[in-house]
Amino acid sequence: MNEADVIKLFKCLADKSRLQILKSLIHEDMYVELLAQRLDLTASTISFHLKKLESVGAVTSRKDQYYTIYSIKEDVFKSTILDLIKEESSEAEIQKEREENYRKKVIENFFVYGKLKNIPAQRKKRLIILEEIAKAFDFDREYTEREVNIIIADFHDDFCTLRREMVGENILTRNNGIYKLVKNDK
C-alpha cells in the first residue's frame, strides 16, 4: 500500500455508515439486502458504500448463487495505523502517481461511458485520449483503413481526424494503406 492508497483508505473510512457496514461484516459475511435491513439504509445506498469500500481494498466480494456476499479484508485492518503512516513513496513514485491521476482525470472528463465527448484542443490531453483509443487495437495485427475507422467510430464520429492524429503522434503507423499499432512503454 502506498501513500495515496493510505489516504484513500482513511478518507473512505471517515464515514459513519461505512464504519457501521464494517462493524457488521466483522461478525459475519453479508449480502446487500441483509446489511440494508440491519442498518436501516436503502439497498442502493449500501451498494454504493460497499463499492467504495471495495475500491480501497477494505472489503471483498464473492458470488453465491443469487447473492453477492461481502466480507471484510482482514489483512488491511491487521496493519497498525503506525504501519500505514510509515508508508512512504519515492519521488519517482509520487511523480508517476501525479501523471496517472492527471491521465485519469483527462479520461474521466473527455469520455462518458466509453464515448469521447469532444476532441481536446490541448495536445497533451489529446495525446492521452489517443492513447486511450489505441487500447482498442491489438499489437502485431494489421488493419485496413476501414477497420481503423470502424474501431475509432466507436469512440467518436470524427474518426478521420482521430485516425490522422494517431498516425501523426506515431501511435499508429501507416504503410500502403495498412495500419499497425506502434509499441511503446506506456
Binding site: S47, F48, K51
Partner: protein, 125 residues
C-alpha cells in the same frame, strides 16, 4: 387554482426543508455521501417548484376557466415525464457500465420525481 397552488407549493417547501434538515444531520454524523443524496432530493424538489411557479405565473391574473386550469395541470404533469426521461437513460447507462454512484443518484432523482407527481395528483383530486 390558488388552492392547488398554495397546497402544492407548501408541500414542496416542506419537503425541501425536510431534506435539507436530514442533510445537515447526516453531515453532523459524518455521513457525507448520504448528506449529498439528501441535497440532491432537495434540489429536485426545488426544480419542480420553480417550474410549477413559472407555469402558474403565466396564467396569473387571467380569468381562468375550468378548462384552462386543467390545461395548466396537464402541462405541468407532463413535466414529470419529460424531465426524468434523461435521468432514466442515464440510469440505464449507469447500470450497464456498473457505475454505482451514478445509479444511486439517478434512482434518487427518479424516486423523488415519482413522489412529487403522486402528491400533485392527490392534491388535484
Amino acid at each position: 387554482m390558488n388552492q392547488v397552488k398554495e397546497k402544492y407549493i407548501s408541500y414542496l417547501d416542506k419537503k425541501i426543508g425536510e431534506y435539507n434538515r436530514i442533510c445537515e444531520i447526516y453531515k453532523a454524523e459524518d455521513r457525507k455521501d448520504e448528506a449529498d443524496f439528501e441535497k440532491i432530493k432537495a434540489n429536485i424538489c426545488d426544480i419542480f417548484k420553480t417550474l410549477f411557479i413559472r407555469d402558474t405565473k403565466e396564467l396569473e391574473g387571467k380569468e381562468l376557466s375550468v378548462s384552462n386550469n386543467k390545461n395548466l395541470y396537464t402541462n405541468f404533469l407532463l413535466r414529470f415525464d419529460t424531465i426524468p426521461a434523461n435521468w432514466k437513460l442515464s440510469l440505464a447507462k449507469a447500470i450497464a457500465y456498473g457505475d454505482v454512484k451514478k445509479q444511486v443518484i439517478e434512482e434518487t432523482k427518479l424516486a423523488v420525481a415519482k413522489e412529487l407527481k403522486e402528491q400533485f395528483i392527490s392534491i388535484l383530486n
